[in-house]
């Protein structure tokens, strides 16, 4: 039972997890608010170009213009406003692509791992074949076929990444399926689907949550990569990946065009993965 030493250790873990949870969710809430309120809080029009104000440095540097806090890019567009608007695309992709990937992958993985038999054989072979495609080429190909746009990016992410969920969830479901509590549920006459949902699913939910948040981070990165190779949404609309791509060409003259969107991207992806870990520590009944 609970002894003082393990209680101490547990509260230490909890404290650390708490800090991680607060920092990561704090940043993500900020990003969400930014995305929602971008048109009102952005100081400038993110699309407005002004050739006379090209490559203005951020506010603390010599030559900065008031109102352009993080400087401007080579077309004179306000970097801060573009980052704020870019959060919309990043977040949309993260949430929609992450959730869809999770639903499809986790459902298939759960079925394969718990039902076994031919269901497992079909799904597992399908995963093996799927994973043999090189993912970047596959996504570029997909978008070439579907045409660029937000929904194409989301579809590409789901189509490529569901296997990540399916494989991990399958392994977990198999491990849980071998436990005696599952046998007991079966003995008392529970059907297979009901056993899967009420007995197995709650035990792999912490894993699914971690995977989901990781996937959201990955989705943000994938969107950035696709923007970088000009396969994302239209090049005028501000996205973090697109900004990084544009900033790359002028990095020696105007590093801020590259660095600020990069920092936003980095912090957001990090926050997603830390949120997952923090949630797991908090909600896994065994760790709690």
């Amino acid at each position: 039972m609970a002894n003082p030493a393990s209680a101490d250790a547990r509260s230490a873990v909890r404290h650390r997890a708490g800090l991680r949870l607060w920092l990561s969710s704090g940043w993500l809430i900020l990003v969400v608010l930014t995305a929602l309120l971008a048109p009102w809080i952005a100081p400038k029009d993110p699309l407005a170009q002004d050739m006379f104000l090209g490559r203005l440095p951020p506010f603390w540097m010599h030559g900065a213009e008031p109102g352009y806090w993080l400087g401007t890019d080579s077309l004179g567009r306000d970097v801060l406003s573009r980052i704020l608007h870019g959060a919309r695309v990043a977040l949309l992709v993260a949430v929609i692509a992450g959730t869809l990937t999770c639903l499809i992958g986790a459902t298939l993985g759960l079925m394969a791992g718990f039902l076994r038999g031919w269901v497992d054989i079909v799904i597992s072979r399908f995963i093996d074949i799927w994973m043999a495609f090189p993912p970047v080429l596959f996504s570029i190909l997909l978008i070439a076929v579907l045409g660029p746009g937000l929904s194409s990016i989301i579809i590409a992410i789901v189509v490529i990444d569901w296997t990540r969920f399916a494989r991990v969830v399958r392994a977990e479901a198999m491990a849980q399926g071998a436990m005696d509590y599952v046998a007991s549920a079966r003995v008392s006459g529970r059907g297979r689907l009901s056993t899967m949902v009420t007995e197995i699913l709650p035990n792999i939910l912490p894993t699914i949550v971690v995977l989901l948040t990781l996937e959201m981070g990955i989705a943000v990165i994938v969107e950035a990569i696709l923007s970088f190779v000009n396969l994302s949404i239209s090049t005028d609309d501000p996205t973090w990946g697109g900004m990084i791509s544009e900033g790359r060409t002028s990095v020696h003259q105007a590093w801020w065009v590259l660095v600020f969107p990069l920092i936003s991207l980095f912090l957001t992806v990090l926050a997603f993965s830390q949120l997952g870990e923090g949630l797991k520590d908090r909600f896994d009944p065994v760790l709690r």
Binding site: M179, S184, R186, V187, S188, P202, P285
Partner: protein, 290 residues
């Protein structure tokens, strides 16, 4: 009258065709406690799993009948078989650490039985769950009902599993080495508890164990298993007075004696093993010839 009767049950490992159960026959009368004894790999747990319909997929039953209340389970459609097993049988598993769902509170896990099997509503089931915990002598049942399994000790969890096995008043409980995973002092309490519960509820019990000492205390009859073959089937008293089969005799002699703690452990002699393995070979020959 026998509640459970197994007739000529044979099973093998699919694919390689390795026999696991060889023409096993045994019966458990209403309210009887029968021990199922054998060393590791003798197939004793396999018999329990076959009755409950939870054999691993790799194991296939090749012949025989499992009669539960005079109905052959193996002849039933899967759904009807599940229903019948659920309504009349329960399991006390070996390892209390994996037998409770770690992410659900105890309350839900016990009341599930009553809801699934007896069709009770949640509210009534929850009230009964508290009574059951009190019956297995768990102090402060209300607190325990709200707990998660990892917050409870192994002995406590085994008591909960016993309560949950008896919850829906089954006719037959299969206890699969229920004390193996517990330490010795707790073992004794848990055995006593199972015996008391069995007596009070009049449930038939198939007690799977490798410990003849436990059998002599709890059971009325026993079947000794070696290599999936029942080598002896006897009432407890005559068995402990003088087992008929050579292997049973050697097994009994191998049990450590409390009277002489300095005596070294006696293994089952090689000659006895040879003899019983010949018997198995004979049985397999008969099976393929017939």
């Amino acid at each position: 009258m026998s509640f459970l009767e197994i007739k000529g049950l044979s099973a093998w490992l699919k694919g390689i065709g390795q026999p696991l159960l060889r023409n096993v026959s045994l019966a458990v009368a209403v309210g009887e406690v029968r021990g199922l004894v054998g060393e590791s790999g003798a197939g004793k747990s396999m018999i329990g799993k076959a009755i409950l319909g939870i054999l691993p997929k790799a194991v296939e039953i090749t012949a025989g009948q499992i009669l539960l209340d005079e109905v052959d389970l193996l002849a039933l459609a899967p759904k009807e078989r599940r229903r019948r097993i659920g309504a009349t049988c329960a399991l006390i598993p070996q390892d209390p650490l994996t037998a409770l769902n770690p992410s659900r509170r105890i309350l839900g896990q016990i009341s599930d039985r009553l809801v699934d099997i007896l069709g009770w509503d949640r509210f009534r089931a929850q009230a009964r769950a508290e009574e059951l915990l009190a019956e297995v002598q768990i102090p402060d049942p209300q607190r325990v009902l709200r707990a998660y399994p990892h917050e409870l000790s192994g002995g406590m969890r085994q008591r909960i599993l016993i309560a949950s096995a008896f919850a829906a008043e089954p006719k037959l409980i299969i206890a699969d080495e229920p004390t193996t995973a517990l330490d010795v002092t707790v073992q004794k309490q848990v055995l006593k508890l199972i015996a008391e519960m069995q007596d009070r509820h009049g449930t038939a019990l198939l007690f799977v164990t490798h410990d003849l000492g436990v059998v002599s205390k709890v059971c009325q009859s026993l079947s000794v298993l070696y290599g999936g073959l029942v080598v002896e089937d006897s009432a407890v008293r005559p068995f402990f007075a003088g087992p008929k089969h050579g292997y049973s005799r050697a097994l009994l002699e191998a049990t450590p004696k409390y009277t002489d703690p300095s005596a070294s452990l006696v293994p089952v002699p090689d000659g006895v093993i040879k003899a019983v393995q010949n018997e198995i070979a004979d049985a397999d020959r008969r099976a393929t010839d017939g």
